[in-house]
């Protein structure tokens, strides 16, 4: 393998990636920034006029925004999986991805965190959602899954941020050494004056371990809690016990796909082929395959339970998903999430970057649709047939969704040029 790459080589390789943005990068950033600005403008428009500008309606009170929220939280998951869980399991291929995946986690959570706010009818009262001492002497309802969400997502964000930052500290010091002038100073300040003495290293090592240990349960719990937003309700199609593992698997599935979506072009553009060997990518592809199998199994279970249980409401719900108004989306989702990834059983495809890239895009589409199908279909056909009704996303919702991608990619592009995209220290260690 690439143990033979010398330490200075690693440094220069990774740090050259940070130098001087080219026109492609600038165009990308501009485009992403534009999307983001558009999304922001639409959000402002929505706040001014009311939620009516979105397509959500009665009975479908949650639509694209919640879909986006779940989607982005899901994306975040693989970052933690790769950096924390694989750290604990000492998986070697982790080092090729962990920095990018952690960054992705942070950015995805930033984006995800916006959506609960975007979907609030009265976002200017968002602070009602936080437990803080106030003159009203009123607190929040800790029995509400939405409060669990507030805690879970903010915990997840803060822990991931700390984890990301801690991982970066030595690399920032390295970057500081390679940069002169203000940039160097900035990196040095950000590195908090890291010198790499033994005392720092020894606490650092423990800290990293503890953080990984703390973050590991989050991989399972955050998306479980997100899934409980649905599972705790009584809506047919939501109220089911398999949601937690199903969502966690889905999250890792979609997150891993997003890692591939980001890393494959990044590897090529930043010339990091040597540091991100194809074997490591194959390992990620295997995770993708495994989670795809779990997700596919969950689909079967969901429908199986509905029809085995002979619950009228459930049966109608799952019949509707497969054959009703949104059946096209349902079948695209099945194709993308459960059928196409089976091709990864073929080793050649597992190692084909082009295939993996396309597949990862499809999986992202499929997983977005999965959340859409779950959120929307269940609400569209619930208990009282008089209330049944369909939902069509409005341009505002689509625009804000695009804006969220804009924010995510803009943040990632900035990250690529400002921070070391691979963990130099860990690559050296390897």
């Amino acid at each position: 393998m690439n143990n033979d790459i010398s330490a200075p080589q690693v440094e220069t390789d990774v740090l050259t990636a940070m130098r001087r943005p080219g026109p492609a990068w600038l165009t990308g950033l501009g485009l992403a920034g534009l999307l983001f600005a558009g999304g922001l403008a639409l959000w402002a428009y929505q706040i001014m006029h009311g939620m009516g500008v979105a397509g959500i309606t009665h009975p479908v009170g949650w639509g694209v925004y919640i879909t986006d929220f779940v989607f982005w939280v899901g994306i975040a998951h693989s970052g933690t999986l790769i950096s924390a869980v694989l750290f604990i399991f000492r998986a070697r291929f982790r080092t090729s991805f962990n920095r990018a995946a952690e960054a992705m986690t942070i950015f995805a959570l930033m984006v995800a965190g916006l959506f609960p706010l975007i979907h609030l009818g009265r976002v200017w009262r968002f602070y009602y959602l936080f437990p803080y001492p106030n003159q009203r002497q009123l607190w929040v309802n800790f029995r509400s899954p939405l409060i669990w969400d507030v805690f879970a997502v903010s915990t997840y964000f803060l822990v991931s941020l700390v984890f990301f930052y801690v991982g970066l500290m030595p690399d920032l010091a390295i970057a500081a050494r390679h940069r002169s002038g203000r940039a160097g100073k900035l990196y040095r300040i950000l590195s908090l004056g890291w010198t790499g003495n033994l005392r720092q290293w020894r606490h650092y090592g423990r800290l990293y371990m503890f953080l990984a240990a703390f973050a590991t349960p989050l991989v399972a719990s955050v998306h479980s809690i997100v899934s409980w937003d649905f599972a705790v309700s009584i809506i047919p199609g939501w109220h089911t016990t398999i949601f937690a593992p199903y969502f966690v698997a889905g999250a890792i599935f979609s997150g891993t796909a997003m890692v591939l979506t980001l890393v494959i072009p990044m590897r090529r553009v930043l010339n990091l082929q040597e540091h991100i060997p194809i074997d490591h990518i194959e390992a990620i592809a295997k995770i993708l395959l495994l989670t795809s199998l779990i997700v596919g199994f969950s689909y079967v279970i969901e429908h199986g339970m509905a029809f085995y249980g002979e619950n009228l409401f459930e049966m109608e719900q799952f019949r509707f998903r497969a054959l009703g108004h949104y059946s096209l989306l349902f079948w695209i989702m099945i194709m993308c999430n459960a059928v196409l990834p089976l091709l990864l059983f073929i080793r050649r495809l597992r190692r084909s970057l082009a295939f993996l890239f396309v597949l990862s895009l499809l999986v992202n589409v499929g997983m977005w649709l999965e959340r859409f199908v779950i959120v929307v279909c269940s609400l569209a056909r619930d208990f009282d047939p008089y209330n049944w009704g369909n939902y069509l996303p409005s341009p505002v919702e689509c625009g804000i969704t695009l804006g969220s991608f804009g924010l995510f990619f803009a943040a990632f592009l900035v990250f690529v040029k400002t921070l070391p995209v691979l963990s130099i220290t860990e690559l050296k260690e390897r």
């Binding site: 106030n134 003159q135 009203r136 002497q137 009123l138 003495n197 033994l198 005392r199």
Partner: protein, 181 residues
């Protein structure tokens, strides 16, 4: 500590850092304080159309509150007295004073007096004086010692927390629907 570094200019810097943090918070506190002061100073003063001295009526003459605010015991709103109530005395008493002349002017024009409202509740709040009087709350509990105010001021915040504190301490209902319409 085996690997303690030799004294470096770091200590000065550390102090500087602390100072910066401290001054940041100090500035923040100062800004909040001054903002609230400015709001207090530059808030437009409420001028009532008639300078009605509660001191004379409620203190010197010792009139009961519900002599004029007659709804207070029976109704949700205490109500401001009708012009005719004022005039039942002031048609004869102190008619030469400028403020009373104003009063008579209102009557002549058939125009109601438009008092500035000081004790204002939001429109989603249901408040009834009657229940509070029934629970033997003195008027002063919420309105302060009006009889000693030449010009009435609001002395209580009338915010939710203030209401709740009283309800809590007196065991009055804390069901949201008691007050929230």
């Amino acid at each position: 500590m085996s690997d303690k570094a030799p004294k470096r200019p770091g200590t000065r810097l550390r102090k500087l850092f602390c100072l910066a943090v401290f001054s940041y918070f100090a500035l923040l506190v100062l800004a909040t304080l001054s903002a609230s002061l400015v709001r207090g100073f530059f808030a437009p003063p409420t001028t009532q159309p008639i300078a009605f001295p509660h001191t004379t009526h409620a203190d010197k003459l010792n009139l009961a509150c519900d002599f004029c605010h007659s709804g207070v015991k029976q109704e949700a709103s205490a109500g401001v007295p009708a012009l005719s109530v004022c005039l039942s005395c002031h048609r004869a008493i102190a008619t030469d004073r400028p403020e009373i002349e104003k009063l008579l002017g209102y009557e002549r024009r058939g125009e109601p007096v438009r008092w500035q409202r000081l004790h204002n509740l939001p429109d989603f709040i249901h408040f009834t004086h009657q229940r509070h009087i029934q629970a033997e709350q003195p008027c002063a509990a919420c309105h302060g010692a009006v009889e000693r105010m030449l010009e009435v001021q609001r002395v209580r915040s009338l915010k939710m927390g203030w209401c709740i504190s009283c309800h809590r301490s007196r065991g009055a209902p804390r069901d949201c629907a008691t007050c929230h319409k």
